[in-house]
């Protein structure tokens, strides 16, 4: 965004855009409950065009970025995300992701991406066995680059909240090594000084992993909720950096495809 952190006013922001508004498609599964927050963050706060996509739809309606929101899709039956994975909307999402389209899975959305095999690994119940609802600090492991963290610096600390019972990211040693080698770990839980310590790990996740991308970098899954951290009134604004990165990426892509 040009002005950085201006007031969240879609009406006044829109005309300043030189490009048509970006289109954010927010998927709604039965049991999604962060869909409205995502729509608000992408639409009202970031001043873009945001719309819902029902899980039974088979077309992404020209979305530039697809968001799988948090919640308890299909009641978390069987395993979190296990049933949502087979929803009709997942077929076009797979194609979109394969073509380089931006897919952001938050919380339950991350779990769905894991179950769908769009990201490696799986989610276990929190080591504490408690639902953890709290502010966390994330260290950006790979900033200034890519679709989701270009607006942040590597090593920058973000305050973004979590709210989940199953966010204990698990992958075997070989997969973890590959994630590290390819720079696919985007966020790790850390303490106030940026140390990736076990005390700063809210759920027992392997290597304090809070968010990973696929190999190509266009699919991000993260347990923390950036859409809940986009406005000072809500106590945190660092989530905006992720949305700003997405806008930057799409804008650059539009410029290069127009040239």
């Amino acid at each position: 965004m040009n002005g950085g952190r201006a007031a969240p006013d879609a009406e006044s922001r829109a005309p300043r855009e030189t490009f048509p508004l970006m289109r954010f498609g927010v998927i709604r599964f039965p049991g999604s409950n962060c869909d409205q927050d995502c729509l608000h963050a992408a639409g009202a706060v970031m001043g873009q065009e945001a719309f819902y996509l029902w899980h039974k739809e088979t077309d992404l309606r020209g979305a530039d970025c697809v968001i799988l929101p948090g919640g308890f899709s299909y009641g978390d039956y069987l395993r979190c995300g296990a049933i949502a994975r087979f929803a009709p909307i997942m077929a076009p999402i797979r194609r979109f992701a394969a073509e380089g389209g931006l897919v952001l899975g938050i919380c339950n959305g991350f779990q769905i991406l894991l179950e769908a095999g769009l990201l490696p690994g799986a989610m276990l119940r929190n080591a504490s066995l408690r639902f953890q609802c709290q502010m966390t600090r994330l260290r950006v492991e790979r900033g200034s680059i890519g679709p989701f963290a270009s607006a942040a610096r590597t090593g920058e600390l973000l305050r973004i909240p979590i709210a989940h019972g199953e966010g204990n990211y698990y992958a075997d040693a070989a997969t973890l090594a590959e994630l590290n080698r390819n720079g696919q770990v985007l966020f790790r839980y850390c303490d106030e000084r940026g140390r990736v310590a076990s005390e700063a790990n809210p759920n027992g996740a392997s290597e304090n992993i809070a968010g990973i991308t696929n190999r190509a970098g266009n699919v991000l899954g993260m347990m923390p909720h950036p859409e809940r951290a986009c406005e000072a009134a809500l106590g945190a604004e660092d989530g905006r950096l992720i949305f700003e990165s997405i806008l930057e990426w799409i804008r650059a892509r539009r410029i290069s495809s127009a040239a």
Binding site: L78, R79, A82, I83, F86, L114, E115, G121, A122, L124, R125, N126, A127, S128, L129, N168, Y170, A171, D172, G204
Partner: protein
């Protein structure tokens, strides 16, 4: 015909539920138990009586939906 699918967390994967169950068992004074793991059982009703002909399809269901091979193992059994 009925099939029974038993799904268990893999041995090398932390099972927080199992740990909590062990703690609770110890709290009621039963120190003889030193480990427990929590899984799930799914009973499936199938038409016909030929287990071997439906086995490949059921294996697929177990692999793709009922279990997550990253963290779980399953066992498929048939009851006549």
């Amino acid at each position: 015909m009925r099939a029974r699918v038993t799904i268990m967390p893999k041995r090398n994967v932390l099972d927080p539920q199992g740990k909590a169950v062990v703690r609770a068992i110890h709290q009621i004074g039963m120190e003889i138990v030193h480990d427990a793991r929590v899984g799930k059982i799914v009973e499936i009703e199938i038409a016909g009586n030929d287990a071997e002909s439906v086995r490949p399809k059921l294996e697929e269901i177990c692999r793709d939906l009922l279990s997550n091979p990253v963290i779980e193992d399953y066992r498929l059994e048939f009851e006549k």
